[in-house]
């Protein structure tokens, strides 16, 4: 019994498992998760004050209790989201992670990997390499993240940043852009969480690194 435990231990130290997610990625990932949830839930409450579409969000899933409270949450969590996001982008470019992990994305690769995924034939043996669908979704969600921050800034400061508002085609359009990006992030979140639960070792890698 004892010898078995020791040999297990030796085996582990002899071939240390490769770090899949470096510590900075794990930190910004979970900070972003908290910031995103705060932004989305308070954002839904703000939306309810003047809905763009014919529906409101249930108060069970909103944050802030009323418009004023939701705005306090939204404009506090925005700092967490923005500072954390800028650190992520800076390190992503500086360490070469974006280039290494997310590129190249080819249409043929996306098509064949999508087909493999839908027939449950996609391999998850090497979590340190993203398949084409992951590359596309992760790159896409980074772009959506940038656009939701920019459209949010243009709604927050439509006079001081009027050039940014014009870039979106006006204040009203910026509201729709902001909402659409939220919807895309929520859709991503559903798929992302579902797949992480289907491949638990990917969740483990995002928590302990290996």
């Amino acid at each position: 019994m004892t010898s078995l435990a020791v040999s297990d231990h030796q085996a582990e130290t002899a071939t240390p498992a490769k770090v899949i997610q470096p510590v900075w990625v794990r930190m910004v990932h979970w900070i972003n998760a908290v910031a995103m949830i705060l932004m989305i839930m308070s954002g839904w409450q703000i939306y309810n004050a003047s809905p763009l579409f014919g529906f409101s969000f249930s108060s069970n899933i909103t944050l802030g209790g009323w418009l004023g409270g939701a705005l306090l949450w939204h404009f506090a969590a925005m700092w967490l989201l923005m500072v954390n996001g800028l650190i992520y982008l800076a390190l992503g470019f500086a360490t070469g992670r974006f280039r290494r992990k997310l590129l190249p994305i080819t249409p043929s690769g996306v098509i064949s990997d999508t087909r493999a995924a839908l027939t449950f034939k996609l391999s998850h043996d090497d979590l340190s390499k993203y398949n084409s669908v992951q590359k596309l979704l992760y790159t896409g969600i980074i772009i959506v993240g940038v656009v939701i921050v920019l459209s949010g800034l243009s709604m927050w400061k439509p006079v001081q940043l009027h050039w940014l508002v014009s870039l979106f085609g006006g204040y009203d359009i910026a509201r729709y852009v902001h909402f659409t990006c939220m919807a895309l992030i929520v859709a991503f979140l559903v798929i992302h969480v579902a797949l992480a639960l289907l491949v638990p070792k990917s969740l483990r890698a995002m928590i302990i690194g290996r």
Partner: protein
């Protein structure tokens, strides 16, 4: 799930804890943004916090809001003008919006009304409407943006507030111009001096080239296109130039005080 909760706080029923916490919060305003009991409870489960300490969350949010005031004051460019629009783009009908119904809007007799001027000014003489109408006026077609998210384009005509402040000898080094209004429950609001001196900040007497109707703030509103709508006082009774932060109707309930656009 039930087992998980017990593990989080051994021996403490989370629902009872939240209920007790809510009981200790008497003010309506405080309850309004914290009793989102369910969502806050859900949030603490997500973040793994054991205790729903809503008052400290509230304090933190207030601090961040003050920090945001400072950031916005720093971002504020006194020369940046709010975009203007052609008259064809004016929103019709322009919405009436207040925390009360139109029937409850103040009804002010123009002939009896006088604008009081108080605080750090040389000339504290009250102004009649006829006297104010004689001051040079300019028109602006700008976008009114509500804190709720909707917006509407309107046409406002009146005297730039900075010209009036100069006329009454206001100390423009003071921090605020504080407006008191006739709205029921006593609306008031502080306006930071740099915004008060912005070229588009206006003592408004006309909407759409007509004398300001009751719905939009007769006899005088303050049009501030660089602020959210709730910081555009209507039915103004007095203005006070002051260094003291006196709070405001909405600001005291939790809306960000600077709320600049």
């Amino acid at each position: 799930m039930g087992r998980l909760r017990k593990l989080l706080i051994p021996g403490v029923d989370k629902k009872l804890l939240v209920r007790d916490a809510v009981k200790t919060m008497p003010e309506l305003t405080r309850r309004r943004f914290i009793t989102a009991g369910t969502s806050l409870g859900a949030l603490t489960l997500l973040t793994g916090c054991d205790v729903v300490d809503s008052s400290s969350a509230e304090e933190l949010l207030k601090h961040v809001s003050k920090f945001n005031d400072a950031v916005q004051a720093w971002m504020f460019n006194p020369d940046a003008l709010a975009p203007t629009f052609p008259e064809s783009m004016i929103t019709k009908p322009f919405p009436f919006n207040a925390y009360y119904d139109l029937d409850d809007a103040p009804e002010i007799a123009g002939a009896d009304w006088k604008l009081e001027v108080r605080g750090l000014v040389e000339n504290k003489k009250p102004w009649t409407l006829d006297e104010l109408y004689k001051l040079p006026q300019v028109k602006q077609v700008t976008r009114h943006i509500c804190v709720e998210g909707w917006s509407a384009i309107g046409s406002w005509t009146g005297t730039p507030l900075r010209d009036f402040l100069k006329l009454v000898g206001a100390d423009t080094r003071a921090k605020y111009v504080w407006f008191q209004c006739a709205d029921k429950d006593g609306y008031n609001s502080p306006l930071d001096m740099r915004t008060a001196l912005h070229p588009q900040t206006q003592m408004t007497f006309k909407f759409g080239d007509e004398i300001l109707p009751r719905a939009y703030g007769f006899p005088m509103k303050i049009r501030v296109p660089t602020k959210l709508g709730f910081k555009n006082p209507k039915y103004v009774l007095s203005m006070e130039v002051t260094n003291d932060y006196k709070g405001g109707y909405w600001e005291d309930q939790g809306y960000n005080s600077f709320s600049g656009s």
